[in-house]
Amino acid sequence: MTTGTVDNPQANADNGHLLDQFREDVLHVQSTLTGMPVFWVRRESLVDILAHLKQVPAPFSMLYDLSAVDERLRSHRDGLPASDFTVFYHLLSVERNEDLMLKVALDESDLRVPTVTGVFANASWYEREVWDLFGIHVEGHPHLARILMPPTWEGHPLRKDYPARATEFDPYTLTVEGQGEEQEAMRFEPEAWGMQRERDGAEFMFLNLGPNHPSAHGAFRIVLQLDGEEVVDCVPDIGYHHRGAEKMAERQSWHSFIPYTDRIDYTGGVMNNLPYVLAVEKLAGIEVPDRVKTIRVMMAEMFRITSHLLFLGTYLQDLGAMSPVFYTFSDRQRGYEVIEGITGFRMHPAWYRIGGVAQDLPRGWEKLVQGFLDWMPPRLREYEKAMMENALVRERTRHVAAFNTAEALEWGVTGPNLRATGCNFDLRKQRPYSGYEHFDFEVPLAQNGDVFDRGQLRIDEMRQSLRIIQQCVDHMPTGDYKADHPLTTPPPRERMLQHIETLITHFLQVSWGPVLKPQESLQMVEATKGINSYYLTSDGNTMSYRTRIRTPSFPHLQQIPAVMRGGFVPDLIAHLGSIDFVMADVDR
């Protein structure tokens, strides 16, 4: 067994013991910049190892992520076991506050892995995604069907031999017959999902809710099996908003992919840039100045507030309250005025850069931000008084669609939805990044994990975000808004005008983009909706070899049937409102 070095040697030592009994099955320990030990294991013992890790003391109780890499074109694989396709399993332990990654090497002629749905329930969608995008067969999966691509799709898009550009295909056409076939392919077959069509002689109603429905929050479809208005079972169907962001990442330079990240969680703005640029900076070895860190935190928290305001308005609207959404939108507008004043754009500023931010703060920014900070607290109090303390709201939300911490971890639920169950896990405290360790704030928690708690918790989170932004205003460090590092993109302009070397670097970095050394890095952040992370694999090129985007909304939607069985249609709508998802964040 070869031992690699990882960021945290202590964790490595501990986790080495974890797999003592599987010493024979660990083929290799890979050294990465992901901050966690990465074990290559034999496919045959994968399920046993996962089951073991799930029941060790302080267990790895969450399957945080599961996806694959097409390794066939990767040139820098020094020392790694031979593999054409690699499936990776990223586990997270809340108790240990540690992660662990298992990788399984597959040969092109034998593309199959055993299903791990028996150990982690939320593996189901991830394994379907692996099948859909890589064509890796998952043996024993209860329903191995395409998930992001249409059921009629041919090919597996994330394979390296699958074209990434429209110009490499014939022009797209759709005939009337073709349209009919596509629609027929979307028809829901209850038998395929192991559902009964009737019970005791009474037929169930199968109701297609979405992909266009006022409460579906985007193009989201969920098929309900109804007995009267009781939801007997339901099947969420996603993929209508899939844009192939991970594939695009393989065709964009490290720098030019930043605007795409804005559109992953389109209510999160620069919050999406953060995990990406942090992961790239790990690869590049850039340490950014304190001013950059603080500016990034401030803008990310601004977007947390605007995103939560959007949540609050639509959440209450889903409960049938018509007016609050207008109030939260006018507050959100005030937030966007600040954001626009600083970044020059509203929803998708794409404002963070590798090694810094796009510009320094404009003159008078303190006044702008302070105005927003003074405006918000009385408004938040008003929302509580008018809505969260309203008897009808409480009746609609208390003890509705509730789940506990264990269930949340089982389904990969993170962020406010996890903390609403009483689990104190906020990356800004547990694994501070971008200088969050210097801020004084609390992590709001709730107990019941129901629709009400998920709503109230976000109001409390907005208060904490205001507190963080206030500290940014009061203690903004002086210094540069870009790191002084050769890979900072674009490089500082002042010297470029004086210095031929810098001019050449500037030219290359703007035209080609920076070249990053072959390594793997990963960065998680506490995004608006839960934990968002970018797992980057560099092959020593101007572009990413593989960009895995783990988004919080994906597992949140997968959990819906487990929560909603036995509930009523209005409860389902309340639950959908309380999850706080956007389909772009689910489908990528």
């Binding site: 109603m205 109701l207 297609n208 429905h213 006022p214 409460s215 009267g228 208005e229 209450l316 609207q317 889903d318 409960l319 049938g320 309250a321 018509m322 007016s323 207008f326 109030y327 006018s330 809505m387 309203n390 009808l392 709201v393 009746e395 609609r396 009523f568 249609v569 209005p570 409860d571 709508i573």
Partner: protein, 325 residues
């Protein structure tokens, strides 16, 4: 000129009155659609429709033009006779109820002995509009809306009638004019407060107005029973709802707030002011409240409103016996 008899004059005058009142009700209902949007705008920190004509006053005409010329589409999977019938019932039943409303001492369409019962009958028929519309549309959302509507109406019709019996007992008549005249000294809101409260709730439920709009709950059923309707058929459901609002407001005024009675101002103005107040209340309810779950609505009807009306009726009877005897 021997054909011009006092009888003929009375008939013509009656027809004229009927025409004015019914047309007035429809126009008021239609105008309310715009008034509501303006008021909601005011309360929600936005403008509302303010572009057509001065302060948006001509919005109504624009809306009517649009709805008249819209394609009147009947889905191929619908049961068309019922599909066509439903909006007519929705519109006509509530409009016909207007005949019993005495607006001023001299104005009113019909002076029936069974006045109040006529309204209850029409409200009963109104349910069929939603039921048939939801059923005939051949749409699952519409069907769910119709299911909700029938369950809800069953629950609320029961105590709606009972909540008015206290008024009937005090006035000693079903005739609306008698009821108004009986309130000359004291409005029935004082002795019949619980009757008023329950009738108001039932009235909101009958018109399917928020927070009792479960049959069309936009966020859940995406408009429920009228999801497949378009053009003027939708318009009839739509205006019918507002006519219903006007009707229920006018009934509340007539039954509990002394109808046209009031000092200084002419009776017609008093009637208009009071009705306007309740119309405003309807809109304010929509702006301010979330929607309860429909099974809660039903249990609220059976467990709170029904016992309350029964107790109210018993107490009214007991007091009348004590005072009268």
């Amino acid at each position: 000129m021997n054909w011009w008899t006092p009888e003929l004059a009375a008939i013509l005058w009656g027809m004229f009155q009927a025409l004015v009142i019914l047309l007035g009700a429809v126009l008021l209902g239609a105008a309310l659609t715009v008034v509501e949007r303006r008021l909601l705008g005011l309360w929600q920190d936005r403008y509302g429709p303010n572009r057509v004509g001065p302060f948006g006053t001509l919005q109504l005409i624009a809306d009517m033009l649009k709805i008249f010329f819209k394609e009147d589409w009947i889905p191929p999977f619908a049961d068309w006779p019922l599909f066509v019938l439903a909006p007519i019932i929705a519109f006509a039943s509530l409009l016909l109820s207007f005949v019993i409303i005495p607006i001023t001492p001299g104005w009113g369409v019909a002076d029936m002995h069974i006045g109040l019962l006529f309204f209850l009958a029409m409200a009963g028929i109104n349910v069929y509009a939603v039921l048939l519309g939801g059923w005939a549309s051949g749409n699952k959302y519409a069907l769910l809306g119709a299911l909700r509507a029938s369950a809800q109406t069953l629950s609320y019709e029961v105590f709606m009638g009972l909540s008015l019996m206290g008024v009937v007992a005090l006035a000693g008549s079903f005739n609306m004019r008698d009821i108004v005249n009986a309130q000359e000294g004291l409005w029935f809101i004082i002795p019949q407060f619980f009757g008023f409260a329950t009738f108001f709730i039932a009235g909101v439920a009958v018109t399917h107005r928020h927070p009792f709009d479960q049959p069309e709950a936009e966020q859940e059923l995406a408009d429920g029973y009228h999801i497949e309707y378009s053009g003027m058929k939708f318009g009839m459901f739509f205006i019918g709802e507002y006519v219903g609002m006007v009707l229920v407001s006018a009934l509340i005024v007539t039954l509990f707030f002394g109808g046209w009675h009031g000092p200084w101002l002419p009776p017609i103005l008093w009637f208009a002011i009071k009705t306007g107040f309740f119309l405003m209340l309807f809109i304010l309810l929509r702006a301010s409240l979330p929607r309860p779950r429909y099974d809660r609505v039903m249990s609220f009807g059976w467990k709170v409103c029904l016992p309350l009306t029964l107790i109210n009726l018993l107490a009214t009877g007991a007091v009348m016996l004590l005072v009268g005897g």
